[in-house]
Protein backbone atom coordinates (compact mmCIF):
# COMPACT_ATOMS: atom_id res chain seq x y z
CA UNK A 1 0.00 0.00 0.00
CA UNK A 2 2.73 2.47 0.89
CA UNK A 3 4.42 1.73 -2.39
CA UNK A 4 1.22 2.64 -4.21
CA UNK A 5 1.37 6.11 -2.66
CA UNK A 6 4.93 6.60 -3.82
CA UNK A 7 4.04 5.28 -7.28
CA UNK A 8 1.24 7.82 -7.54
CA UNK A 9 3.64 10.61 -6.59
CA UNK A 10 6.17 9.50 -9.18
CA UNK A 11 3.43 9.22 -11.81
CA UNK A 12 2.32 12.79 -11.06
CA UNK A 13 5.91 13.98 -11.41
CA UNK A 14 6.19 12.03 -14.65
CA UNK A 15 3.13 13.78 -16.06
CA UNK A 16 4.57 17.17 -15.11
CA UNK A 17 7.88 16.29 -16.76
CA UNK A 18 6.08 15.24 -19.94
CA UNK A 19 4.23 18.57 -19.89
CA UNK A 20 7.52 20.43 -19.63
CA UNK A 21 9.00 18.33 -22.44
CA UNK A 22 6.06 19.25 -24.67
CA UNK A 23 6.02 22.97 -23.71
CA UNK A 24 9.71 23.64 -23.13
CA UNK A 25 10.69 26.60 -25.29
CA UNK A 26 14.33 25.61 -25.74
CA UNK A 27 15.88 22.27 -26.48
CA UNK A 28 17.63 22.39 -23.13
CA UNK A 29 14.30 22.57 -21.31
CA UNK A 30 13.24 19.45 -23.15
CA UNK A 31 16.50 17.75 -22.19
CA UNK A 32 15.99 18.59 -18.53
CA UNK A 33 12.52 17.06 -18.80
CA UNK A 34 13.85 14.01 -20.66
CA UNK A 35 16.41 13.41 -17.94
CA UNK A 36 13.68 13.68 -15.32
CA UNK A 37 11.46 11.27 -17.25
CA UNK A 38 14.28 8.73 -17.32
CA UNK A 39 14.79 9.03 -13.57
CA UNK A 40 11.03 8.67 -13.03
CA UNK A 41 10.99 5.50 -15.14
CA UNK A 42 13.70 3.95 -12.99
CA UNK A 43 11.92 4.84 -9.78
CA UNK A 44 8.63 3.49 -11.16
CA UNK A 45 10.31 0.19 -12.06
CA UNK A 46 11.85 -0.17 -8.62
CA UNK A 47 8.66 0.77 -6.77
CA UNK A 48 6.48 -1.44 -8.95
CA UNK A 49 8.82 -4.36 -8.35
CA UNK A 50 8.54 -3.86 -4.60
CA UNK A 51 4.78 -3.39 -4.72
CA UNK A 52 4.22 -6.66 -6.58
CA UNK A 53 6.85 -8.49 -4.53
CA UNK A 54 9.09 -9.04 -7.53
CA UNK A 55 12.33 -7.09 -6.92
CA UNK A 56 13.78 -8.53 -10.13
CA UNK A 57 12.51 -5.34 -11.75
CA UNK A 58 15.54 -3.65 -10.17
CA UNK A 59 17.79 -5.20 -12.82
CA UNK A 60 15.78 -3.51 -15.53
CA UNK A 61 15.96 -0.28 -13.55
CA UNK A 62 19.74 -0.53 -13.36
CA UNK A 63 19.88 -0.90 -17.13
CA UNK A 64 17.65 2.13 -17.57
CA UNK A 65 19.92 4.25 -15.38
CA UNK A 66 22.93 3.54 -17.54
CA UNK A 67 21.01 3.97 -20.80
CA UNK A 68 19.67 7.29 -19.55
CA UNK A 69 23.14 8.65 -18.82
CA UNK A 70 24.48 7.56 -22.21
CA UNK A 71 21.45 9.02 -23.99
CA UNK A 72 21.71 12.43 -22.33
CA UNK A 73 25.43 12.68 -22.99
CA UNK A 74 24.91 11.64 -26.61
CA UNK A 75 22.37 14.42 -27.17
CA UNK A 76 24.66 16.95 -25.48
CA UNK A 77 27.54 15.85 -27.66
CA UNK A 78 25.31 16.44 -30.65
CA UNK A 79 24.73 19.98 -29.43
CA UNK A 80 28.43 20.54 -29.03
CA UNK A 81 29.74 19.21 -32.31
CA UNK A 82 26.66 19.17 -34.53
CA UNK A 83 27.16 15.46 -35.16
CA UNK A 84 27.64 12.23 -33.26
CA UNK A 85 31.09 11.06 -34.05
CA UNK A 86 34.60 11.05 -32.74
CA UNK A 87 35.88 14.60 -32.44
CA UNK A 88 39.00 13.96 -34.52
CA UNK A 89 36.98 12.37 -37.31
CA UNK A 90 34.62 15.35 -37.32
CA UNK A 91 37.52 17.77 -37.58
CA UNK A 92 39.04 15.80 -40.45
CA UNK A 93 35.73 15.72 -42.29
CA UNK A 94 35.37 19.45 -41.85
CA UNK A 95 38.84 20.13 -43.20
CA UNK A 96 38.04 18.06 -46.27
CA UNK A 97 34.99 20.18 -46.83
CA UNK A 98 32.46 17.44 -46.17
CA UNK A 99 29.77 17.42 -43.58
CA UNK A 100 30.42 15.71 -40.26
CA UNK A 101 29.22 12.14 -39.98
Amino acid sequence: MMFAVAILAVLAALALAVARALIGPTAFDRLVAANSIGTSAVMLLALFGFMTGRPEFLDIGLTYVLLNLVGILAVLKFFRYGALGHAQDLERDRERGGGGG
Binding site: V5, A12, A13, L16, F28, T39, V42, M43, G82, Q88
Partner: protein
Protein backbone atom coordinates in the same frame (compact mmCIF):
# COMPACT_ATOMS: atom_id res chain seq x y z
CA UNK B 1 10.54 -4.12 15.42
CA UNK B 2 8.73 -4.80 12.20
CA UNK B 3 6.24 -2.06 12.92
CA UNK B 4 9.01 0.46 13.56
CA UNK B 5 10.77 -0.41 10.30
CA UNK B 6 7.50 -0.26 8.39
CA UNK B 7 6.69 3.14 9.85
CA UNK B 8 10.11 4.54 9.03
CA UNK B 9 9.86 3.07 5.55
CA UNK B 10 6.46 4.63 4.99
CA UNK B 11 7.71 8.00 6.22
CA UNK B 12 10.70 7.85 3.88
CA UNK B 13 8.56 6.84 0.92
CA UNK B 14 6.00 9.57 1.60
CA UNK B 15 8.67 12.25 2.05
CA UNK B 16 10.48 11.03 -1.05
CA UNK B 17 7.30 11.15 -3.11
CA UNK B 18 6.56 14.64 -1.82
CA UNK B 19 10.03 15.94 -2.72
CA UNK B 20 9.77 14.22 -6.09
CA UNK B 21 6.53 16.04 -6.93
CA UNK B 22 7.91 19.32 -5.58
CA UNK B 23 10.85 19.08 -7.96
CA UNK B 24 8.54 18.35 -10.88
CA UNK B 25 6.31 21.31 -9.99
CA UNK B 26 9.37 23.53 -9.82
CA UNK B 27 10.43 22.35 -13.25
CA UNK B 28 7.13 23.66 -14.62
CA UNK B 29 6.94 26.92 -12.69
CA UNK B 30 10.51 28.20 -12.89
CA UNK B 31 11.12 30.91 -15.52
CA UNK B 32 14.10 29.61 -17.50
CA UNK B 33 16.32 26.63 -18.05
CA UNK B 34 18.94 27.15 -15.33
CA UNK B 35 16.38 27.55 -12.56
CA UNK B 36 14.51 24.55 -13.95
CA UNK B 37 17.64 22.44 -13.64
CA UNK B 38 17.96 23.71 -10.08
CA UNK B 39 14.40 22.59 -9.30
CA UNK B 40 14.85 19.18 -10.88
CA UNK B 41 17.94 18.56 -8.76
CA UNK B 42 15.61 18.38 -5.74
CA UNK B 43 13.78 15.35 -7.11
CA UNK B 44 16.97 13.88 -8.56
CA UNK B 45 18.80 13.81 -5.23
CA UNK B 46 16.52 14.11 -2.21
CA UNK B 47 13.44 12.55 -3.81
CA UNK B 48 15.27 9.58 -5.25
CA UNK B 49 17.36 9.17 -2.11
CA UNK B 50 14.37 9.06 0.21
CA UNK B 51 12.39 6.73 -2.06
CA UNK B 52 15.30 4.32 -2.22
CA UNK B 53 15.80 4.61 1.55
CA UNK B 54 12.20 3.54 2.02
CA UNK B 55 12.71 0.55 -0.26
CA UNK B 56 16.02 -0.30 1.45
CA UNK B 57 14.26 -0.52 4.81
CA UNK B 58 11.81 -3.00 3.28
CA UNK B 59 14.52 -5.04 1.56
CA UNK B 60 16.75 -5.61 4.56
CA UNK B 61 20.29 -6.88 4.08
CA UNK B 62 19.89 -8.75 0.80
CA UNK B 63 21.11 -8.69 -2.77
CA UNK B 64 18.13 -6.48 -3.57
CA UNK B 65 19.49 -3.85 -1.21
CA UNK B 66 22.85 -3.93 -2.98
CA UNK B 67 21.12 -3.38 -6.32
CA UNK B 68 19.16 -0.49 -4.84
CA UNK B 69 22.37 1.11 -3.61
CA UNK B 70 23.90 0.77 -7.06
CA UNK B 71 20.84 2.37 -8.63
CA UNK B 72 20.88 5.35 -6.29
CA UNK B 73 24.62 5.88 -6.70
CA UNK B 74 24.30 5.76 -10.49
CA UNK B 75 21.35 8.18 -10.42
CA UNK B 76 23.18 10.64 -8.17
CA UNK B 77 26.36 10.68 -10.26
CA UNK B 78 24.61 10.70 -13.63
CA UNK B 79 22.28 13.46 -12.51
CA UNK B 80 25.18 15.69 -11.55
CA UNK B 81 27.07 14.95 -14.76
CA UNK B 82 24.04 15.55 -16.96
CA UNK B 83 23.17 18.79 -15.17
CA UNK B 84 26.70 20.09 -15.49
CA UNK B 85 26.91 19.24 -19.19
CA UNK B 86 23.46 20.72 -19.83
CA UNK B 87 24.25 23.99 -18.06
CA UNK B 88 27.55 24.31 -19.91
CA UNK B 89 25.92 23.63 -23.27
CA UNK B 90 23.09 26.07 -22.54
CA UNK B 91 25.52 28.82 -21.48
CA UNK B 92 27.61 28.34 -24.62
CA UNK B 93 24.47 28.30 -26.73
CA UNK B 94 23.69 31.84 -25.56
CA UNK B 95 21.15 31.22 -22.80
CA UNK B 96 21.70 33.70 -19.98
CA UNK B 97 20.55 33.08 -16.40
CA UNK B 98 17.79 35.27 -14.97
CA UNK B 99 18.88 37.18 -11.88
CA UNK B 100 17.26 39.84 -9.73
CA UNK B 101 18.08 43.21 -11.26
CA UNK B 102 17.05 46.74 -10.41
CA UNK B 103 13.71 47.05 -8.62
CA UNK B 104 13.43 43.30 -7.99
CA UNK B 105 12.79 42.74 -11.68
CA UNK B 106 14.18 39.57 -13.16
CA UNK B 107 16.58 40.28 -15.99
CA UNK B 108 18.98 38.22 -18.03
CA UNK B 109 22.30 38.69 -16.34
CA UNK B 110 25.60 38.89 -18.16
CA UNK B 111 27.74 36.25 -16.46
CA UNK B 112 30.93 37.88 -17.73
CA UNK B 113 30.12 41.07 -15.80
CA UNK B 114 29.72 39.02 -12.62
CA UNK B 115 32.67 36.69 -13.16
CA UNK B 116 35.26 38.33 -15.46
CA UNK B 117 37.31 35.13 -15.65
CA UNK B 118 34.40 33.56 -17.52
CA UNK B 119 34.95 35.76 -20.59
CA UNK B 120 37.87 33.71 -21.83
CA UNK B 121 36.10 30.39 -21.31
CA UNK B 122 32.90 31.54 -23.01
CA UNK B 123 34.72 33.11 -25.94
CA UNK B 124 36.69 29.93 -26.49
CA UNK B 125 34.97 27.22 -28.51
CA UNK B 126 33.57 24.22 -26.71
CA UNK B 127 35.99 21.35 -26.81
CA UNK B 128 36.55 18.32 -24.70
CA UNK B 129 40.06 19.52 -23.96
CA UNK B 130 41.17 21.58 -20.99
CA UNK B 131 41.29 25.29 -21.92
CA UNK B 132 44.90 25.96 -20.93
CA UNK B 133 46.31 23.54 -23.46
CA UNK B 134 46.99 25.96 -26.33
CA UNK B 135 46.67 29.50 -24.95
CA UNK B 136 48.07 31.35 -28.00
CA UNK B 137 45.84 29.74 -30.60
CA UNK B 138 45.22 32.16 -33.47
CA UNK B 139 41.53 33.14 -33.60
CA UNK B 140 41.50 32.86 -37.40
CA UNK B 141 41.63 29.09 -37.05
CA UNK B 142 38.22 28.94 -35.38
CA UNK B 143 35.86 26.95 -37.58
CA UNK B 144 32.24 27.99 -37.73
CA UNK B 145 29.94 25.09 -37.07
CA UNK B 146 26.18 24.96 -37.44
CA UNK B 147 25.67 26.34 -33.93
CA UNK B 148 28.56 28.78 -33.65
CA UNK B 149 32.30 28.43 -33.51
CA UNK B 150 33.50 24.86 -33.31
CA UNK B 151 36.80 24.17 -31.66
CA UNK B 152 39.86 22.70 -33.16
CA UNK B 153 39.58 19.12 -32.08
CA UNK B 154 42.22 17.34 -30.11
CA UNK B 155 45.20 16.31 -32.15
CA UNK B 156 44.54 18.62 -35.09
CA UNK B 157 47.37 18.42 -37.54
CA UNK B 158 48.65 15.20 -36.09
CA UNK B 159 46.35 13.00 -38.15
CA UNK B 160 47.16 11.62 -41.55
Amino acid sequence: MGVVVDTLSFLALAAGGAFYVIGAIGMNRMPEVFTRMHAVSVSDTLGVGLLVLGMLLQAGVTLVAAKLIFIVLALWTSGAVATHALARAALHDGDRPLLAGAGDQLEHADPVALFPELAERLAAPLTSETPEEEPDKAPSEVVMGPRGPVGDGPGKGEGS
